[in-house]
């Protein structure tokens, strides 16, 4: 089943989120596949974690919907997954999900766009799998029948530019499209020497792209890789980019409210600001070398809310550090409630965790040669942690 979730009747015409998710690990025409070998496989191999990554993004959406974290109700989800055998064996959820073939993708994408016909609605797109670039700044997504003979090498692929352009507000004013659009392209952007040799390989259109009317979409595109580079994944796990995006959506990119809704939220701009740090933390954990490229397009928009303020990992350090074991540290909320207290800042620098928010802090040295210090600050998520430096030397 491609349309795995359909709540349109329940929403009764109200704007909602329409998601299209595709994850490809198993490629029929790459070495190890069951199809005739691709004539030009570009050196690509079977994958082991990208279908799982697509599945996990779907699960995140369901969870966010359940916890009322999404900016709009989740209306529909088109899900296409081509898992490896190991992924299939490990996750019964893959059964019944249609494979991410070019034919299925074209059908799902066109239906997805048709469903997203309310300008107040929102679309989300997530692709995890192989990708290539023919020229700098280009991005082509490889579906599970990539390399299927006969035909051109890129017959069973999707050009991201064609996808993006086709989602622009149509020139026909009677046709509408959701003006909030979010794209995650979790794929490599490696050039191949074949593209030099054959100039520009054609990718069949996903749909007819007409010239747009006024394009006032908010439509950021988060590329997992900068042009000319690879994306990385933990074999049998998920992609590094998906770890980082999840970390941003759930905590790291959370910012306090700037409207009547007091909930902390994650926005396009907050993700763009936090994504590098999140990805670097993931790189560190998994010895990766990935760099991503967010491309902003249009106004800032809310991507998700948090049900409660995010946990902030903090570390307080005292200068001079010799004074740390003689310093009491107190942290109180803006309302005066005690949030954290320790008689000695040992170990030093001293780690602690609190919910994000405004706090007053005080450092009181026992030794009179040092001076006490106090102030107020907003504690919000930072990586690796938010550092509070306090000078107590006279």
């Amino acid at each position: 089943m491609t349309l795995i979730l359909d709540r349109r009747d329940e929403l009764n015409g109200a704007p909602g989120i329409h998601a299209l998710i595709a994850g490809v690990s198993y490629y029929h025409h790459l070495p190890g596949g069951d199809g005739a070998p691709a004539k030009k496989p570009f050196g690509l191999k079977q994958l082991r974690s990208t279908a799982t990554t697509g599945w996990l993004f779907y699960q995140w959406l369901l969870d966010a919907q359940k916890n009322k974290r999404l900016p709009l109700e989740l209306a529909t989800v088109h899900l296409l997954l081509s898992p490896s055998q190991a992924e299939r064996d490990a996750n019964a959820g893959f059964a019944g999900v249609d494979p991410a073939s070019r034919e299925n993708f074209v059908a799902a994408a066109n239906e997805w766009r048709d469903f997203a016909s309310n300008p107040d609605g929102m679309t989300m797109f997530y692709f995890a799998g192989h990708g290539v670039q023919r020229r700098q700044n280009d991005s082509v997504l490889l579906l599970d029948d990539f390399g299927r003979p006969p035909g051109g090498s890129l017959s069973y692929t999707v050009d991201v530019a064609n996808l993006f352009d086709g989602m622009a507000p149509p020139a026909d004013m009677m046709r509408k499209v959701a003006l909030r659009q979010l794209y995650f392209i979790d794929a490599c952007r490696m050039p191949d020497k074949e593209f030099r040799r054959n100039d520009w390989m054609n990718v069949p259109d996903l749909w007819d792209v007409d010239l747009n009317s006024k394009d006032d979409r908010s439509a950021p595109v988060f590329y997992a890789a900068i042009p000319g580079t690879s994306a990385f994944a933990v074999p049998g796990g998920q992609t590094l980019f998906s770890f980082a995006i999840r970390s941003c959506l759930d905590r790291i990119a959370a910012i306090p409210s700037d409207d009547a809704d007091p909930r902390w939220r994650v926005t396009t701009t907050s993700v763009i600001s936090a994504l590098d740090a999140a990805l670097n933390a993931v790189n560190k954990d998994h010895h990766g070398e990935q760099k991503c490229l967010p491309v902003s397009y249009g106004k800032d928009m809310i991507l998700a809310y948090l049900t409660e303020p995010p946990t902030v990992d903090c570390v307080v350090s005292i200068e001079p550090d010799l004074a740390a074991n003689q310093c009491e540290f107190r942290l109180t909320t803006g309302a005066g409630a005690q949030a954290y207290e320790v008689a000695q800042l040992v170990p030093h620098p001293h780690p602690f965790h609190v919910p994000g928010g405004f706090y007053n802090w005080a450092v009181v040295p026992a030794d009179p040669q040092y001076k006490a210090a106090k102030d107020g600050t907003i504690l919000k998520p930072r990586l690796p942690e938010l550092e509070l430096k306090v000078k107590v030397s006279a």
Binding site: K45, D165, I272, H286
Partner: protein
């Protein structure tokens, strides 16, 4: 009511008076106002939290207890009596090099290692890499002017007089001139890097040479400090601050076309199409030699759905040259690809389509060597009119000796 003024955050004479976006919140984190630090703000009595973020990632938080008396809030990070050197403050707080990654592992020197990671979603093995570096890196700076799309560029004398100097940074000033110019850094065994110089008749720019253990790193800063701050926010992806700074920049009376271009690119990025209405036409007509004016106008019109006019604007680019900012190149590549596709090309005059195809081919080839992570157009190749990725080998060409500048 309390009137609150801000001092700082910058201390050097060059950046004194440059405002950064400041958020004022209640202790419950309700947003009260966003203002520029160069402005004052009137607040009702109460406690407030003031936060500001600088392009290189520094965060400033201050608490205000507003009563009846006016207050001055010190936002300076560096309150030493002696002001930091002019050459220190800009690279420290407005660095255009992406801010250092606090959690990045030591990547150099590196030994061979077998990884369990998947690269390109395929297994890979890191090969051994050189662990040594020359004691003093070698390199020269060169300067060119001209249109890389039209043929060879003319070399002109690179800057030789150091403007400012700190331990690992040397500054040069590139004088104001009405021409598209590039600086080139040539270093042994690396591809020469060309960077567009954001200069005009009104303002020059500042060239920063950072000395690193194994190479030199070139940064270009606008002479206009407000526009330079905006460029810093752009490069470091601090988009909330970028939006506020861009709006403020364009509120002022701008006599600097390059600063206006920086602001216009931000407005396009944030989809402020209505606010750009007169600006983009003005930018295109104001300085007819600046390629970016035509690229901005073309993209603006394309987003408004006025595609005939958009194509005409884009076609004005090649006579002017390569846009100074990489966003301009992206606009050209993406829009011309669409306008020359078989389905949409029929809607344009055949002569325009033919010209668009020729330009698209040229700009697409050129863009293969452009680093789209950089805001200023940055590309590789010893001959800027024939970009390539070949590392430079052999005796360094004449130019400003980077090593000598640090002696």
């Amino acid at each position: 009511m309390t009137y609150v003024r801000f001092r700082g955050p910058f201390g050097s004479t060059r950046l004194a008076g440059v405002g950064v976006p400041v958020q004022i919140r209640t202790p419950e984190l309700q947003l009260v106002k966003t203002v520029m630090s160069s402005d004052g703000v009137t607040l009702n009595p109460g406690r407030y939290i003031v936060t500001a973020r600088l392009p290189a990632g520094h965060e400033i938080t201050r608490m205000i207890d507003a009563g009846d008396a006016d207050q001055t809030i010190d936002l300076r990070l560096d309150t030493r009596a002696a002001q930091p050197l002019e050459a220190e403050e800009t690279p420290t707080y407005i660095s255009q090099q992406r801010r250092p990654n606090p959690v990045r592992r030591a990547a150099w020197p590196r030994k061979s290692a077998k990884r369990s990671m998947t690269r390109g979603f395929e297994d890979y093995v890191l090969s051994a890499e050189p662990v040594g570096a020359p004691a003093v890196p070698q390199g020269v700076l060169r300067c060119f002017t001209g249109n890389p799309l039209a043929g060879p560029l003319e070399e002109f004398p690179p800057p030789s007089n150091v403007l400012e100097k700190a331990s690992d940074v040397v500054e040069y000033r590139i004088k104001n001139v009405n021409a598209v110019c590039f600086t080139q850094s040539v270093q042994p065994d690396l591809p020469p890097v060309n960077i567009a110089l954001p200069i005009s008749q009104q303002r020059g720019c500042i060239l920063l040479v950072h000395r690193q253990p194994d190479r030199y790193w070139i940064e270009v800063h606008l002479e206009n400090p407000e526009a330079n701050l905006l460029l810093g926010y752009q490069q470091n992806r601090e988009m909330q601050e970028e939006a506020v700074t861009a709006e403020r920049l364009l509120q002022g009376k701008l006599d600097d076309p390059v600063a206006a271009m920086v602001g216009a690119y931000s407005l396009l990025r944030f989809g402020e199409l209505d606010r750009l209405h007169n600006w983009s036409q003005h930018l295109m007509d104001w300085m007819r030699w600046i390629p970016d004016g035509a690229a901005i106008r073309g993209e603006h019109l394309a987003r408004l759905g006025r595609h005939q006019e958009a194509l005409e604007a884009f076609l004005a680019v090649p006579a002017r040259g390569i846009p100074m900012f990489s966003d301009g190149i992206s606009f050209l590549v993406d829009r011309l690809r669409l306008y020359t596709s078989s389905r949409t090309a029929t809607q344009f005059h055949p002569d325009h389509v033919a010209a668009a195809k020729e330009l698209h081919a040229k700009i697409t080839d050129f863009s293969s060597y452009v680093d789209f992570e950089k805001i200023l157009t940055t590309f590789t190749g010893l001959d800027p009119s024939k970009p390539d990725t070949r590392p430079f080998h052999g005796p360094l060409p004449p130019g400003t000796d980077c090593a000598a500048a640090f002696e």
